[in-house]
């Protein structure tokens, strides 16, 4: 094996490991919320993991800054919410969870994810 091939092989393996680590091994930071929270929609949701109390109404306000149509809708399936998010406009949804647990929310195509941890 020539030097260049060796380098490409090593580079490739490093690249694959890096990709795996970068995308699939990230740890979510949980943001505790009481009452209301603003979620910025820009290449994902930030904060993307929020912890909310059970039995109380939490107002979640989405502000979409990302023009990509992938993020134009937000879906919270367990709470039957599908909202269109106009660019740069705040859209508020109210959630009153009855059960505790982890519930996901995502964009209309299921590419971007966030989660609600009900405690």
């Amino acid at each position: 094996m020539t030097v260049d091939k060796l380098l490409v092989t090593i580079g490739g393996i490093v690249g694959i490991i890096f990709t795996y680590w970068f995308f699939l091994m990230k740890k979510e930071k949980v943001v505790e919320v009481s009452g209301s929270v603003n979620i910025i929609v820009d290449g994902g949701y930030s904060p993307s993991t929020i912890s909310i109390p059970a039995g109380k109404t939490t107002k979640i306000t989405f502000l979409r800054k990302d023009p990509s149509n992938c993020l134009e809708e937000v879906v919270v399936p367990d709470f039957k919410i599908r909202e269109f998010l106009p660019l740069n406009k705040k859209i508020t949804v109210e959630i009153t969870p009855k059960k505790t647990g982890k519930f996901g929310f995502e964009c209309g195509m299921g590419m971007f994810h966030g989660s609600l941890i009900v405690q």
Partner: protein, 753 residues
């Protein structure tokens, strides 16, 4: 600068216009404000600021009017924004495809000789490719870069990566050709074959955006049902105030307002008729195509169309409480819910993009090491092809688009599906239990037979019976009085009316003693029934209650009263049985009545669950479920309408409530038949079947597409058949895959259920 239209409530003269305009103009950031009295609208031009809307509303309120944002109840702003986006997208597609086409002409092997020399120049190609990559392609970077910051990747990441690799490689080859022989990439003696691939980067961007354009257009069609429902809403109402009729905006109508509706007008809100009668076309809300006759005391639904008469009615439900608003809310909720079948697609798509990136890197390494010369070029082009062909969007769109079209189709047919799960489960139902009273039957007894046994004719019997029952409060009495009313019989006055519990009623008409009641009553009064005893038992065996009329102790006739089956009930049952669904009937009534009704609608005797206490309905559902699951995998549905049906509706795998039912039943049910047509049970199951078929086909396409074409792009066919995928074709295939999935969902609209 932004121009927006608002509704202004409360204006009635020209000076109001001036006041409102002045108030609006005083708000910071407002450049201009024009108020139109005829349309009650204000068009405000203001600088783009989020809080401005609140300030405008405040300003208008402070001068005594109200500013209503068009937002919540019509989709205008959303529509306009979408339209603008689509227009932008169209321009970008055209520009990128024109520029890409020119580069392709100047660089593609067989056709480049026909191109002008200028286009074959690499520097010219670079200049043409720059705007496509960084202006038009900016949307991909703009989505991909913030995503990377969140350590997530999506569709745009793949496109940005793929086109960037092609572009920067090409730019390098163009700008630093002298560096190529010294670089250890592939076989350096073949450096002449290092050509730029600007066509690849530009055409990919053009085609993918073209795909998005068509996808967005098609996707708009999937949410059409909601828009259609919102569009049904009337804009104004003619309210009677101080004996005068004034037109007001629908938002201003309050509960208790008296509203006049003329022929051909839309009924603004829900209410009860207090004067006049008419026939009303309710097809837009209930899906029922035949106009319904309405008279004093009848409820009417907002957004339906008044056909013939003029009437006055009292508003009982306004705003978000109207039936239409509730329907819209339910459909919206259903479209936001998730079908269980989607979970697998979700899990896969959350790992999909990183896996594709890893596969692309692997492809590069393998081609570089084992590929034919020039191995660097093969490695790079195949890597780009892998990045471009992968289409996570198709997987993400497969289920939700079909669910949206399916629930919308249901709503158009008067079938409201509460969530995607119900839509998915309904097609697995193989057993359905119908509640009898109020669901299969009308729930109100009706006179079914009048038999004359002496001189008195049928109408005469009914006339006397109605006269004497008029004072009674028994439900059977109501049936007799109603029957007489419908035949427009004039009943005489009764003296000495008396109800004898458990027996019947008696009274005196024109000096004759009239008695009406059961066998026991006749025996007590010594009326002979010998001649008709056979007829009586015949009627009783068919589930009817028989009453005898005697005048001066002489039997004159029989009146049979029974709860009659609903129109189409038998057809509804046979439709289900044709679908190989086992149909049961459940009731608290005695076996004789239950069997009689079951026979009429075509339910087998062994499938009749009679004498079931209300609280035991749920138990029966569970019992059937446990035996049913064991026999063959199938679910149990329950169709009911009463409060006592609610536990059974909730316990069933699929609970179906009649739209005329109680609120509790509607609350717990999964599917609501607002058209009140029993045949819709079969329709709902059919709709579920068709939707699931579409979803499965979509998922098959989306998965199959990726599973087959990603390996092809990686070049697995090359060793056997020398087949490689040009990145341009990859982008074409990828654009087509999303479009085909959405289009397939839209085909569901044409399905007849």
């Amino acid at each position: 600068m932004e121009k927006k239209t608002y509704k202004v409530v409360g204006m009635h003269c020209a000076s109001c216009v001036y006041t409102v305009e002045k108030a609006l103009k005083s708000v910071e950031g407002v450049k201009d404000a024009v108020v139109n009295l005829a349309t009650n609208k204000a068009t405000v031009t203001h600088t783009q600021e989020e809080a401005v809307e609140d300030k405008l509303a405040q300003a208008v309120t402070s001068v005594g009017y109200r500013l209503v944002s068009d937002q919540p109840f019509d989709g205008h702003t959303e529509d306009e924004e979408k339209k603008k986006e689509l227009k932008d997208l169209k321009i970008k597609v055209v520009i990128s495809l024109i520029l890409g086409g020119l580069i392709l002409w100047g660089s593609f092997p067989w056709i480049m000789d026909t191109a002008p020399k200028l286009l074959q120049n690499f520097y010219v190609q670079l200049l043409l490719a720059i705007p496509v990559q960084f202006w038009i392609g900016l949307t991909f970077y703009r989505a991909a870069i913030p995503a990377l910051r969140h350590r997530t990747a999506n569709m745009d990441t793949l496109v940005a990566l793929g086109t960037s690799v092609a572009f920067f490689y090409s730019a390098f080859v163009t700008l630093f050709p002298y560096l190529l022989p010294v670089l250890p990439i592939g076989n350096s003696s073949l450096s002449t074959s290092f050509m730029p691939y600007f066509d690849v980067s530009t055409i990919i961007i053009g085609l993918i955006l073209l795909g998005r354009y068509f996808e967005a257009k098609a996707k708009a069609g999937t949410s059409e049902a909601i828009k259609k429902l919102i569009g049904l809403q009337a804009k104004t109402a003619r309210v009677v105030r101080d004996k005068k009729e004034v037109d007001i905006l629908i938002e201003e109508v309050q509960v208790g307002n008296i509203i006049r509706v003329r022929p051909g007008e839309k009924i603004p809100v829900d209410g009860v008729i207090i004067e006049g009668d008419s026939s009303v076309d309710e097809s837009m809300v209930t899906g029922e195509s035949i106009p319904v006759d309405k008279t004093k005391g009848d409820t009417i639904i907002g957004a339906t169309m008044n056909k013939s008469g003029t009437f006055l009615y009292k508003a009982t439900k306004v705003g978000k409480d109207t039936m239409l608003a509730q329907i819209i809310k339910l459909v919206e909720e259903a479209q936001g819910s998730k079908a269980p079948v989607q979970r697998l697609a979700d899990i896969i798509s959350s790992y999909f993009v990183p896996i594709v990136i890893m596969l692309a890197i692997g492809t590069f390494v393998v081609w570089y090491i084992f590929g034919p010369s020039p191995s660097f070029l093969f490695a790079m082009l195949n890597m780009v092809a892998v990045l471009i062909i992968a289409c996570p969007c198709a997987m993400g769109l497969a289920t939700p688009t079909a669910i949206m079209v399916g629930t919308g189709l249901g709503a158009n047919n008067g079938i409201l599906i509460k969530d995607a799960e119900a839509l998915e489960l309904a097609h697995k139902v193989n057993t359905i239990i119908f509640d009898k009273t109020g669901t299969l039957t009308k729930g109100k007894p009706e006179v079914t037979d009048i038999i004359s046994v002496n001189k008195l004719k049928e109408n005469g019997i009914l006339k006397f019976a109605a006269a004497i029952e008029k004072g009674s409060e028994h439900s059977l009495a109501e049936a007799i009085v109603k029957a007489a009313e419908s035949k427009q019989l004039v009943v005489s006055a009764v003296e000495g009316f008396r109800a004898i519990a458990g027996h019947g009623v008696e009274g005196i008409i024109h000096g004759d003693k009239i008695i009406l009641g059961n066998r026991r009553f006749m025996n007590r009064e010594r009326v002979s029934m010998a001649s008709v005893s056979e007829q009586i038992s015949l009627l009783e065996n068919s589930g009817k209650t028989v009453m005898m009329l005697a005048i001066d102790s002489k039997l004159e006739g029989l009146i049979a009263v029974a709860d009659t089956i609903k129109e189409n009930a038998d057809e509804a049952i046979s439709l289900l049985q044709k679908m190989r669904i086992n149909v049961f009937m459940i009731t608290g009534d005695n076996k004789r009545t239950a069997f009689a009704i079951a026979k009429q609608v075509g339910i087998k005797k062994e499938n009749v669950l009679a004498e079931v206490l209300p609280q035991e309905k749920e138990k029966n559902v569970k019992k059937l479920q446990s035996t049913n699951y064991k026999l063959k995998p199938g679910l149990v549905g329950f169709v009911g309408d009463g409060i006592n049906d609610a536990p059974a509706l909730a316990a069933a795998d699929v609970g179906i409530a009649m739209g005329s039912g109680t609120d509790v039943a509607i609350e717990v049910a999964d599917i609501i038949l607002i058209n009140k047509d029993l045949r819709s049970v079969a329709k709902a199951i059919n709709l579920s079947k068709k939707t699931m078929k579409t979803i499965k086909l979509n998922l098959f396409w989306a998965f199959g597409y990726n599973v087959i074409l990603i390996p092809v792009a990686m070049g697995v066919l090359y060793p056997f058949a020398k087949i490689l995928l040009n990145p341009i074709f990859a982008s074409f295939a990828m654009a087509m895959s999303s479009i085909s999935v959405v289009t397939n969902s839209l085909l569901l609209k044409r399905v007849k259920i």
